[in-house]
Structures are given as structure tokens and as C-alpha cells.
């Protein structure tokens, strides 16, 4: 397919869309699906057909709208209203939604798009999520999709594309924060006949589901970003390494790849040029360490996912010892808009060091739990209290756990710093328990290759266990700190180097809770084994 042909399809889609006066978008991402949004979709569609409105009113299945806690979510236009928690088993309510298309929305379920949760967001990565049908490539083309890719191939040199990404200041969204443009130019300059582009969709951090949502809601966006990257660095083969725990994301990715190949937007001779790029999905198998790039590459090769020392960096010697570009889902999803709107536009968003936006999964003890995208550098306090709507049940905020098992817990007085993906915890959470939870996780997920990580995490967990059982001693706190620092310094890969973070951050900010466990042998929150109240009744 050439650029002209693509624009023709886009034009046709837009013409079709003009005929529609009313739209009802129903989210069919995994969160809403588990609340039976597929039934809501079917019933709304049947009702519209029954009334003979299907020429002017379109009921569409779309991706994630973000406010997962209030699913199943529906949006109706031109009313510009969100509906929350529509009961899938109540034809009366759903009929009322259709009845009111031209009038006032059904008040019990309506949700204004003006609330901070929606209004304070800036959507780049998620701009199509909740707008387009993730299983229809024409929808994606209709909003300008694949035009940046074909434009690059037809009109721009490889180096020009790399320069554009460098100018954008985009940094890797997987956690490492390495400048994306720099990575691209390294792979572009590396010598080798065969080069690969890999997308890291092994989102292992518990409490994070940004990548899942993007893949489920807008898979073509990720594929296009990968293809542009492949063109820029000269890769001809790509893999998406996706968690097996995300069956819906895998399914939609595979559908998207097939559609794009059929249209000549992936595969051989893309855009009728000489550029070829084939993409395959590879399933992860539940190993957290495979988010680390060298371990991920080993896993794609069919080996045990064990990291190896760097250098050599994958940019020079990665998959099958060939130069390999490895970026995360969100990073790739940023590429198409950077190419179409320019690196300077992207660089104008965010802060001095961190450009663009960041998608956060806001979960835990917070009212508006869900997925949000905000400019870099936003204050944590705004996230929790403004977008998040605060803590449920008038309880007090205690800490935010950011960055998964490798992150830390930050208390209220430090709530004003910009930071990663987050789980909000209120005053009923016990920090020793949380630290123990994470050490149990990393201890279990440690691949066992290097000793500091394998033995260190087990020892740290053992100490925490002892403290939580009320058998700890004051000297244990010193040991925790010393051991943590040692593991951090000497572990081979990111998993081990960051594994002690939950312990060290809770020790730093919530030391009194540790002391309380040791001195009084009780857990004030009633979560630990030492407390007198049984764990089941601790919820107060």
C-alpha cells in the first residue's frame, strides 16, 4: 500500500464517520470486560438496531477509558457524557441511555468529563484509547494511523528519523529512563547484517497495567512505533515479548499484526518500498526478571531468562548476537505522534529533564482508581487528591508505593515529588508487612544466578519475617540496612540492585513502625502475625 492509498482509506473512514450523528462507545478492555461490558455492548447495539437508528447512531466497542474502578464505562457523543457502572442485566437502564441520546443523560449513571480525573489528563500515548475499535485497522487509519510510518519510508532518511526522536528528548518508559534517541542511534550505527527490534511487553510489576491497557486498546500504535524504529535503525525482524498473563492483549496484537500484514503495512515491502519488517509475538512465561533486557533476549531465544553482565550492550550484541533495539510498549507508543507532530512539539511538554507524558496506573486505596496519562513532573499530591479523588472512607493517606518491587514507599511529607507508577496506601497499611510482601516477591523471582541477589533477598525476607512475628531485635534494623546496601552494590542486574528499595525506603520513612514491632511485639495495623487481632478482622 502506498501513502496515497492509505490516505484514501482514511478519507473514506472520515466520510463514513460524518454520517453518524450519535455515538456510544463501550469499553471492552479487560477491566470492563470482567464487569461484563460485552453484554452492555450487545444489548445497546441490539436496541439501536431494533429502533432502526443504526444509520445515524453507532455503538462501538473501544479500548480503555481509564476510570477502571467505575466500569463498565460507556461514553456517549455528542452529549459528551461518560456513563459509569451501567448494569449489564438491566434493559431498562440501557434503554434509558438510548432514549436520552438527544436530551439529558441518565443522571444516576452519568459522569461529567469535566471532573479532574478526565480534565487534568494530557493524552498522547492513550489518545486513541477509548476512541477507536482496537480490532479494526481501518479505525486506526481513520485517525491518521500508519501515515507517519509510510511518510518516513517515502520521504525521510533513516538518520532524519533518529534525529527527530533525539530532538524529542523521549526517554525509555520501562523504568530505566535511558534516552530513546541515543539508543536508536547506537543500534543504527552498529554494524551487522541482521538487526532486531524488540518490544518489551513483559509488564511484571504488580500493580501496574499501563502496557496491558495500551496493547488492548490501541495495538496498532505500538506496531507502528516498532516499524518506524525498525526503519530508522535498519532492523528487519521484530518481536513483541508479552506476558502470557495478558491473553486479551496477545489476541488483539495477533489480530493487529495479521491486519497490518494483509494491508502491506508490515511484512515484506512495506509501502511498496524495499523496507521489510516482520513482527512476531513471543509469550513470556511468568518470570519477573525477564523485564531486564538481557534476560528478555535470552527468553526470546528460548533459553532460561537469566540476565548476563553488560557490556556488551544489546545495541551491539543482543538477540542471536546481533544488534538489537529494545524498547518498552509505552516508548514505542510515543513514536508515531513524535514523527507526525515533530520532536520539538514533544519536547515542549513535561519538565526540563523529562519530556512528554507518563501513563500511571493509580491503584490501591484511592477513589478514582484507574489509568491516567499526565505531563511529566506532575505533583504526586495532585495525582492522589485531584485526579484520584482522594482516599476512600475519610481515612488518612499513608504512603504511595511507586515503581513496583524495585521502587520505594513515599510518605505524605514527600508527596510533592515527581515519580513512577503507583499504589496508594492508607493508614490501615502496615509498612513492615508491605516491605515483607515485596521481599517475598523478589526472593521468589530472583533468578539465582548471582549470589548477592539469591542469598541477600532470602536473608532480608527472613529478617522481616522475624520482625513481623514479634521476634525481632533492634540490631536487626542495622543488619537490614547493611545487607540492603550490599545487595544494591553487588547484584548483577536491575532486579537485585533495586530489590532492597522497598525495605530501605520504609526503614527511612517509617522506622517507628519497625521499632514498634520489635519493642512492643505488636502490629498497630493488625496485619502481622505478632498482632493479637486475627488478620481477617483487621480491616477497620
Amino acid at each position: 500500500m502506498t501513502l496515497d492509498e492509505l490516505q484514501e482509506i482514511a478519507e473514506r473512514e472520515r466520510e463514513e464517520a460524518k454520517k453518524i450523528t450519535h455515538r456510544v462507545n463501550v469499553s471492552v478492555a479487560a477491566g470492563c470486560l470482567s464487569l461484563h461490558s460485552d453484554q452492555v455492548f450487545k444489548m445497546l447495539q441490539t436496541e439501536v438496531q431494533k429502533r432502526g437508528l443504526d444509520g445515524s447512531c453507532k455503538v462501538k466497542s473501544v479500548g480503555c477509558m481509564g476510570l477502571c474502578a467505575a466500569g463498565p464505562l460507556v461514553r456517549s457523543e455528542p452529549q459528551h457524557t461518560y456513563y459509569r457502572g451501567l448494569p449489564p442485566d438491566s434493559p431498562e437502564v440501557l434503554n434509558a441511555v438510548i432514549d436520552s441520546l438527544d436530551g439529558k443523560p441518565v443522571p444516576e449513571f452519568a459522569l461529567s468529563p469535566e471532573i479532574p480525573f478526565f480534565a487534568a489528563q494530557k493524552r498522547i500515548v492513550l489518545e486513541n484509547c477509548g476512541e477507536i475499535d482496537p480490532e479494526r485497522i481501518e479505525d486506526y487509519i481513520g485517525v491518521g494511523g500508519y501515515e507517519p510510518l509510510l511518510n518516513c519510508i517515502a520521504n525521510r532518511s533513516r538518520d532524519d528519523v533518529v534525529q527527530e526522536v533525539i530532538r524529542s528528548g523521549l526517554r525509555g518508559r520501562g523504568g530505566g529512563g535511558y534516552p530513546t534517541g541515543l539508543k536508536w542511534s547506537m543500534v543504527a550505527k552498529a554494524s551487522g547484517e541482521q538487526k532486531y527490534a524488540i518490544c518489551n511487553a513483559d509488564e511484571g510489576d504488580p500493580g501496574a497495567f499501563m502496557d496491558r491497557s495500551v496493547l488492548e486498546s490501541d495495538p496498532h500504535r505500538v506496531l507502528e512505533g516498532m516499524a518506524i524504529a525498525a526503519y530508522a535503525v535498519g532492523a528487519t525482524k521484530g518481536y513483541i515479548y508479552c506476558r502470557a498473563e495478558y491473553p486479551l492483549a496477545v489476541k488483539r496484537l495477533k489480530v493487529a499484526i495479521r491486519q497490518a500484514e494483509r494491508m502491506g503495512l508490515l511484512g515484506k515491502r512495506i509501502g511498496e518500498s524495499d523496507f521489510c519488517f516482520e513482527v512476531e509475538v513471543r509469550l513470556g512465561a511468568g518470570a519477573f526478571v525477564c523485564g531486564e533486557e538481557t534476560a528478555l533476549i535470552a527468553s526470546v531465544e528460548g533459553e532460561r531468562g537469566v540476565p548476563r553482565p553488560r557490556p556488551p550492550f544489546p545495541a551491539y550484541s543482543g538477540l542471536n548476537n546481533c544488534p538489537t533495539l529494545l524498547n518498552n510498549v509505552e516508548t514505542f507508543a510515543n513514536i508515531a505522534p513524535i514523527i507526525s507532530k515533530g520532536g520539538d512539539w514533544f519536547a515542549s511538554i513535561g519538565t526540563g529533564k523529562s519530556k512528554g507524558t507518563k501513563v500511571f496506573a493509580l491503584v490501591g486505596d484511592v477513589i478514582n482508581s484507574g489509568l491516567i496519562e499526565v505531563p511529566m513532573g506532575i505533583k504526586l499530591r495532585d495525582l492522589v487528591y485531584s485526579l484520584g479523588g482522594g482516599i476512600p472512607g475519610d481515612r488518612k493517606f499513608k504512603a504511595v508505593q511507586t515503581g513496583g518491587p524495585s521502587g520505594g514507599c513515599i510518605p505524605e511529607q514527600f508527596l510533592d515529588m515527581g515519580s513512577g507508577g503507583m499504589i496508594v496506601m492508607d493508614e490501615t497499611a502496615c509498612m513492615v508487612d508491605v516491605a515483607k510482601f515485596f521481599m517475598d516477591f523478589t526472593r521468589d523471582e530472583s533468578c539465582g544466578k548471582c549470589i548477592p541477589c539469591r542469598v541477600g533477598t532470602t536473608q532480608l525476607h527472613g529478617l522481616l519475617e522475624r520482625i513481623s512475628e514479634g521476634k525481632g531485635q533492634m540490631a536487626d534494623l542495622k543488619t537490614l540496612e547493611r545487607l540492603g546496601a550490599m545487595v544494591k552494590r553487588t547484584a548483577l542486574c536491575g532486579l537485585g540492585q533495586t530489590a532492597p528499595n522497598p525495605v530501605s525506603s520504609t526503614l527511612k520513612y517509617f522506622r517507628d513502625e519497625y521499632v514498634h514491632h520489635i519493642a512492643d511485639k505488636t502490629c498497630a495495623q493488625g496485619k502481622c502475625a505478632c498482632s493479637k487481632t486475627p488478620a481477617g478482622t483487621a480491616e477497620n
Binding site: 466500569g71 502470557a244 518470570a287 531468562g305
Partner: protein, 146 residues
């Protein structure tokens, strides 16, 4: 295996297919995979045991997955799991002796906004209530226990 051209790099993909077809990886199928892909049995076994997703034991008739991700954990998934283990009288990762129910602890299934999440036979139960979970388990196990 044919689809992947019998390449050694397809090992994990092949193991996924085997597990999908038979529910778990047994000795016979591992040996078959090893000889077809021409890789040592030790390596196949190593890979199969390294990843959490692969199971070497036959699954129960029903499957109960409790998400133990951070979001679910702070919302009480730990207590939920304790209750389930008591009802089923087995630990997470095991199957009841009568082969009725397998109890599995998952890392994170990405339904964090609907925590705590439990998955019964592939269907996600959002905001799982202890009572409802107990009833479902009793229905499954109940037949034999009386």
C-alpha cells in the same frame, strides 16, 4: 513445532502450546519436545521449571486463581488466600486431593483497579467478596466432601 521450523529458539512457544493442549507438561511430552527440537532433555526441563507459568502437575477440574499483586494485596488478597487455603485444605500452588480444584497465586493479572481479583475457571471476579468466594469453592468441593 513445524510452524517454528523445529528451531531450538521456539522452545518456550512449543511448551506454551503443549500446556495449552494438555493442561500441564508431563515427562512424555517434554521428552518428545526435546527430541523434536534436538535439544538436551536437561535444557528442556530447565526451561520448563524455570518459568512460573509452566506446570508439571495435572491441573484440577476447576481452577481458582487469586491475584497477589500489590494492588490486590493492599486490598486484602492475603486474607482471602488464607481463607481459600483453609476451605480447600491445600496450599497455593496445589490441587485438592480429589482433583476438584487447583489453587493458584498469580503475580498480577492487571485488574488492579478492581482489586482484589479472583479468577474462577478463566472468569475474573472483580472486587471479590470473601462470602461469594467461599460459596463458589464449596460448590466445587462440596460434591465429595458431602
Amino acid at each position: 513445532m513445524r510452524r517454528h521450523g523445529y528451531k531450538a529458539s521456539a522452545l518456550i512457544e512449543v511448551l506454551h502450546t503443549v500446556q495449552e493442549s494438555f493442561g500441564f507438561l508431563d515427562d512424555v511430552s517434554l521428552r518428545f519436545v526435546a527430541s523434536s527440537l534436538r535439544i538436551p532433555m536437561s535444557k528442556v526441563f530447565g526451561v520448563a521449571t524455570y518459568y512460573h507459568f509452566f506446570s508439571m502437575k495435572p491441573p484440577g477440574e476447576h481452577n481458582c486463581v487469586v491475584c497477589m499483586g500489590t494492588g490486590c494485596y493492599v486490598k486484602g488478597a492475603g486474607d482471602l488466600m488464607k481463607m481459600i487455603e483453609e476451605i480447600a485444605r491445600v496450599k497455593a500452588g496445589e490441587t485438592t486431593p480429589d482433583g476438584k480444584v487447583s489453587i493458584v497465586a498469580a503475580r498480577c493479572i492487571g485488574s488492579c483497579s478492581l482489586a482484589p481479583a479472583v479468577v474462577f475457571d478463566g472468569e475474573v471476579i472483580p472486587r471479590a467478596q470473601p462470602g461469594a468466594v467461599r460459596d463458589q469453592l464449596r460448590r466445587w468441593i462440596g460434591h465429595d466432601a458431602g
